[in-house]
C-alpha cells in the first residue's frame, strides 16, 4: 500500500471518528500534561471527532512521547502490535524526534527506531494547538504546512514579529 493509498484509507475510515491511545516511552511528563489538556475545555478534542481510549485494541492512532527507552521498546512494540490496522503512529515532541537524547545504551533516541512513524509533531512540548494540528495532519484534514516553510527571515524583523 502506498503512502497515498494509506492516507486515502485513513481519510475514508477515520474521517469523522478516531480513537487515540497514548504511549509514554520515557518523556518528562510535560508532553503527557499537554496531551491531557487536549481533552480540557479549552481544546476539547472530542468536538473534532477524536477520542481517547485506554485499550490499544480500540485505538486507531498511537500518540508516542519520549525518546524510546531501550528497556521499554518491547512494551512499545506490544502496544503497537495490539492495535488493529490500519493504524497511525504519531511521534510527539522533541524527545521522540531525537532532539533531547541520543541513540545510546539507555535510549533509542527516536521513536522511529522502533515503530513505523507516520506523523511527526515537533515541539518541546508540542502545545495542545500543535497537537491538534498534528492530529489533523494525521487524518489528512489539515495541511502539512512545514514542508513549505523556509525558516529564513529575509524581511525586516520588526514587521513580522507577533503575527502568524
Amino acid at each position: 500500500m502506498t503512502a497515498e493509498e494509506l492516507r486515502e484509507t485513513i481519510a475514508r475510515q477515520f474521517g469523522r471518528s478516531l480513537h487515540i491511545r497514548t504511549l509514554d516511552t520515557g518523556s518528562c511528563a510535560v508532553c503527557e500534561q499537554e496531551i491531557r489538556l487536549l481533552a480540557a475545555p479549552h481544546y476539547d478534542l472530542n468536538r473534532l471527532g477524536f477520542f481517547f481510549t485506554p485499550a490499544p485494541r480500540h485505538a486507531d492512532l498511537l500518540l508516542v512521547t519520549g525518546p524510546m527507552i531501550r528497556a521499554f521498546a518491547v512494551a512499545a512494540r506490544k502496544t503497537y502490535d495490539a492495535m488493529p490496522g490500519p493504524k497511525i503512529v504519531v511521534a510527539t515532541g522533541a524527545c521522540a524526534l531525537g532532539g533531547v537524547y541520543p541513540d545510546d545504551a539507555f535510549t533509542h533516541g527516536t521513536v522511529d527506531a522502533v515503530l513505523p512513524v507516520d506523523v511527526w509533531i515537533p515541539g518541546c512540548p508540542p502545545s495542545p494547538l500543535a497537537l491538534l494540528h498534528g492530529l489533523g495532519v494525521a487524518v489528512g484534514r489539515l495541511a502539512d504546512k512545514v514542508r513549505d516553510l523556509p525558516f529564513t527571515e529575509d524581511r525586516d524583523p520588526e514587521r513580522t514579529r507577533g503575527g502568524s
Binding site: 509514554d24 489538556l37 539507555f106
Partner: protein
C-alpha cells in the same frame, strides 16, 4: 566518635568528614534530630558516600553533608537505622556495585530485568554490580493466599508509564510495589562531562513538571561549587517562576483529583484554571512549562511583570472558584476523607517531603532555609490527618501563598531578572549543593565540577524520587482498589522524577 560534632549552620551547607568506621554511630546520632534528605556515592580515587541531612526547624534550617570515603567499598546498612536510605542503597548498588555490609536484599530500581537476553551493557557510574540480578535484588514474590494484580506499564491515556504490582487477597490491598525502570534515562550518567549550562538543558527535562525547581537546584549547586553570586533580582525572577510552577502544578493536581473521583465538571473547572495559568507562564516567561528560565548565575530572560500582574488575578480566581466549588461538593470530599492515610511516623521515617509530608504534619519546606529570596514570613501550610483531603487542602493553601509571594516579588524591585543575555559562568572546580522547593517538595542537586568547569558527578534528587516510597504505605491503608488513583493524584508525582 568524630572529632567534630556535625552541626547545622542555618542557611548554610556544612560538610563534615566522617571516617568509615564511625559512620554508623554518626548516622544513628543524626537520624534522631535531622531528616536524611539524600544519600549518594561518587567515584574518585576511592568511592565516597555522601549523606545529606536537612534541619527543618524554622530559623535554623540548613543542610549538612557527611562525606565518608569507603576504603574497602563496604558501608553499614544505613536503612536499618534510617529507613529513608533504602531506595538509595539500591541505587548505589546498581550504579557503583557497592552493597550494605549486612548483605540485605535489595530491590530493582533502575536496571531493567533481563528478559531472556544477555544483560544489556548499561553504563554505570562506578563498578558494575558483580552479583547476578537474582541475587542483587530480591524478586518481589507473593506467598500464601495473595496474588499480584499486574497493572501497566502502559496504563491509562495521558499518564506516564509505570508498573503497579498490586498484591491483593482478592479483596484487600495487601501490598503495592512499583517498577519504573522502563523510564530510566541515565540522567546522572549523562550529566558527566557537561558544563552547567549544557546540564541544565537535560535537568529541566528530567522532570518537566518541576523544571524550574530542578533547574534552580542545579544552578544553585553549580553556583555554590564555583562560589559565584546571583543577582538578587535574578533570584526573585527564579522565585516568581517557581511559584508559578507551583500554581499550575496544584491546578493540575486538582484536575487529576477530580478525574480520579469521576467528577468531570470539577475536572473541567480545574483544567480551565490550569490552562490559564499555563498561558500566563507563556506570556510571562515565554514557555508554558517555564523551560529555559533558569540559567547558571541568573535567569535567561526577565519575566513580563505586567503580564503577570494583569493575568494572575484572573487565572487564580479561576483556580479559587474551582477549589471553593470542590470544597462545597460533599460527594467529592467523601472520597478524599480518610483515604490514603499516611501517618506522621511513616512520613518522617521515609523522609518524605513537600505537600505529602506537610499534610502528615511534617514541617519541611526548603523555602525556609535562610539566605534565599523567600523571607521569614513565608507561610507553610500543614495538615495533620495525612489523608488525601489533607493533601488537597495543603495544596490549596500553598497556591494562595504562592500568589501572595509572587505579588511580593513583583513589588520588591523595579526590574526582575538579568538585563539581557546569560552572564558568562565561571569555569572553575568545586562541589556544591543546591535546593529548591518544587511543587512536589524539596528538590536537591549536588554537583562536583572538575577544574575545567565540567561536571564530574551530578546528583539529582527530585521530590518524586522521595515521595513515591510513601505511596505504597498510603495505598495499603486502604481496602478499596478504586482509591489508588485518588491517592496517586493527591501525591501528584511524576515517574520521570523517580526514574531519572
Amino acid at each position: 566518635m568524630t572529632a567534630v560534632e556535625p552541626k547545622v549552620v542555618p542557611g548554610e551547607v556544612t560538610t563534615f568528614q566522617v571516617a568509615s568506621p564511625d559512620l554508623e554511630a554518626v548516622v544513628r546520632d543524626l537520624a534522631t534530630a535531622l531528616r536524611l534528605a539524600d544519600m549518594f556515592a561518587s567515584d574518585g580515587d576511592t568511592t565516597t558516600l555522601r549523606l545529606v541531612w536537612a534541619n527543618d526547624t524554622a530559623g535554623q534550617a540548613g543542610y549538612i553533608i557527611t562525606e565518608t570515603p569507603l576504603d574497602n567499598g563496604i558501608y553499614p546498612a544505613l536503612s536499618d537505622i534510617a529507613p529513608a536510605a533504602f531506595v538509595e542503597e539500591c541505587e548505589i548498588y546498581e550504579q557503583f556495585g557497592i552493597r550494605p555490609a549486612t548483605g540485605k536484599a535489595l530491590n530493582r530500581v533502575m536496571l531493567p530485568p533481563h528478559t531472556g537476553q544477555p544483560p544489556p551493557g548499561l553504563p554505570t557510574l562506578g563498578h558494575k554490580p558483580e552479583a547476578e540480578p537474582e541475587e542483587a535484588r530480591a524478586q518481589h514474590t507473593v506467598g500464601g493466599q495473595a496474588f499480584e494484580f499486574p497493572f501497566g506499564p502502559v496504563r491509562q491515556v495521558g499518564v506516564e508509564s509505570l508498573y503497579y504490582g498490586l498484591v491483593t487477597s482478592g479483596e484487600e490491598v495487601v501490598d503495592l510495589y512499583l517498577f519504573s525502570w522502563h523510564k530510566h534515562r541515565g540522567l546522572e550518567w549523562r550529566l558527566q562531562g557537561k558544563t552547567p549550562e549544557q546540564a541544565l538543558f537535560l535537568v529541566e527535562r528530567t522532570e518537566g513538571l518541576s523544571a524550574v525547581a530542578l533547574g534552580w537546584a542545579l544552578a544553585a549547586a553549580a553556583e555554590a561549587a564555583t562560589g559565584s553570586c546571583v543577582p538578587e533580582a535574578a533570584e526573585r525572577a527564579r522565585a516568581v517562576a517557581l511559584e508559578l510552577e507551583r500554581l499550575y502544578n496544584h491546578a493540575a493536581a486538582m484536575a487529576a483529583l477530580c478525574q480520579s473521583t469521576g467528577l468531570t465538571v470539577g475536572q473541567s473547572a480545574a483544567e480551565i484554571a490550569l490552562e490559564r495559568l499555563l498561558r500566563l507562564n507563556a506570556q510571562a516567561f515565554g514557555h508554558r512549562y517555564l523551560f529555559g528560565v533558569v540559567a547558571p548565575g541568573g535567569v535567561t530572560r526577565p519575566p513580563d511583570a505586567d503580564a503577570i500582574r494583569t493575568l494572575l488575578p484572573g487565572a487564580y480566581g479561576e483556580f479559587n472558584r474551582a477549589a471553593e466549588a470542590l470544597l462545597g461538593t460533599n460527594s467529592f470530599l467523601d472520597r478524599l476523607e480518610a483515604t490514603g492515610v499516611l501517618t506522621a511516623a511513616q512520613a518522617s521515617g521515609l523522609g518524605l517531603v513537600g505537600p505529602v509530608a506537610r499534610a502528615s504534619g511534617q514541617l519541611t519546606d526548603s523555602r525556609r532555609v535562610p539566605g534565599g529570596p523567600y523571607g521569614d514570613e513565608t507561610a507553610v501550610a500543614t495538615g495533620t490527618a495525612g489523608d488525601v483531603l489533607a493533601r488537597f487542602t495543603v495544596m490549596l493553601a500553598e497556591a494562595a501563598e504562592s500568589v501572595r509571594l509572587i505579588g511580593g516579588f513583583l513589588d520588591a524591585g523595579t526590574r526582575l531578572g538579568a538585563e539581557a543575555g546569560i552572564p558568562e559562568f565561571p569555569r572553575t572546580g568545586g562541589a556544591g549543593l543546591g535546593w529548591a522547593e518544587s511543587p512536589r517538595g524539596e528538590a536537591l542537586a549536588w554537583v562536583e565540577l572538575g577544574r575545567d568547569g565540567r561536571i564530574t558527578r551530578a546528583r539529582l534528587r527530585p521530590a518524586s524520587a522521595r515521595n513515591w516510597r510513601g505511596f505504597d504505605d498510603a495505598c495499603r491503608s486502604q481496602n478499596v482498589f478504586t482509591d489508588i488513583p485518588i491517592i496517586e493524584a493527591s501525591f501528584w508525582l511524576t515517574v520521570a522524577g523517580m526514574a531519572r
